[in-house]
């Protein structure tokens, strides 16, 4: 996923929110991701 963010921390927050709200159900799933600044 490519996204525009002011800095790595806000990118991290945005991805975390995507994971928690939709991409993963943390009752039965875990997730991990890595932010790579470009």
């Amino acid at each position: 996923v490519r996204l525009d963010a002011a800095d790595p921390a806000s990118a991290e927050n945005a991805v975390k929110e995507m994971c928690e709200k939709l991409l993963a159900n943390t009752v039965i799933e875990t997730y991990r991701f890595e932010v790579v600044p470009r």
């Binding site: 709200k21 939709l22 991409l23 159900n25 009752v27 039965i28 799933e29």
Partner: protein, 234 residues
């Protein structure tokens, strides 16, 4: 009384549910499309039903997309207001994904889609959804699902069990809760739960498919009987 049956793309039990509410129970009912937006979109309904099916094709994860559909804002608002919300099969899964009920479902332990009749024991008859039943009554409903194995972490399960939130449990014909009578591997044979406040019920089996003798059984009528009784009394 006025009922709403929410329709997602991929719902496939909305007509059965509508039929039962209108033709069998003589109530008013509207279909409400999932794109219906606004917090008060469902405010005029006495009860909202999320029917079975495969909402949004169950893409990404069972019920995951449906849980973020626009209409869910109004469903949540109805729950907060104390309105009654019933989720059947995929509708139950939507309520779990939307965190309106605790826990989640996993694929059936058999890894097979199971379509069969099952026996359930009524564990809690003090709810607006089950007051027409008696505690420990054994009732028979059909199931049809591939992802119905109820799961909750130990702490959540302790709370759910400790506060009467387990409403239905899979059992044998005598009401004994056994491994053999569990069709999907649900923890503690849980078939249906309510929220802590008691105004939301979700269950995997299909009451709407068991309300007329011609369909093989009428035990499901108890849920709709209960709802009508509870709403008339309110």
């Amino acid at each position: 009384l006025k009922f709403a049956v929410v329709v997602f793309p991929g719902s496939n039990c909305e007509v059965d549910t509508y039929h039962v509410l209108t033709s069998v129970f003589g109530q008013e009912c509207d279909y409400v499309w999932h794109e219906t937006a606004g917090r008060n979109a469902l405010a005029k309904y006495d009860c909202v039903v999320l029917p079975g099916g495969f909402a949004h094709g169950d893409y990404l994860r069972v019920a995951a997309m449906a849980a973020v559909s626009p209409v869910m804002e109004a469903v949540s608002e109805n729950v907060e207001r104390g309105g009654l919300v019933l989720g059947i099969c995929n509708g139950f899964q939507v309520l779990l994904e939307a965190r309106l009920l605790p826990g989640a479902v996993l694929p059936n332990q058999s890894l097979e889609h199971r379509a069969q009749w099952v026996h359930m024991r009524v564990d809690n008859d003090h709810t607006p959804f089950t007051r027409a039943y008696e505690r420990e009554q054994v009732i028979t409903y059909p199931i049809s699902h591939g992802d119905g194995s109820y799961f909750a972490d130990a702490e959540t399960l302790r709370q759910v069990e400790g506060s009467g939130q387990v409403v239905f449990r899979y059992c044998d014909t005598q009401g004994s809760v056994t491994t053999a009578s569990n069709p999907n591997g649900s923890v503690n044979n849980i078939a249906g739960i309510r929220n802590r406040r008691g105004n939301v019920l979700g269950l995997m089996p299909h009451p709407e498919r068991a309300c007329e003798a011609i369909l093989g059984g009428k035990d499901g009528a108890g849920i709709f009987d209960s709802l009508v009784q509870a709403l008339v009394a309110a």
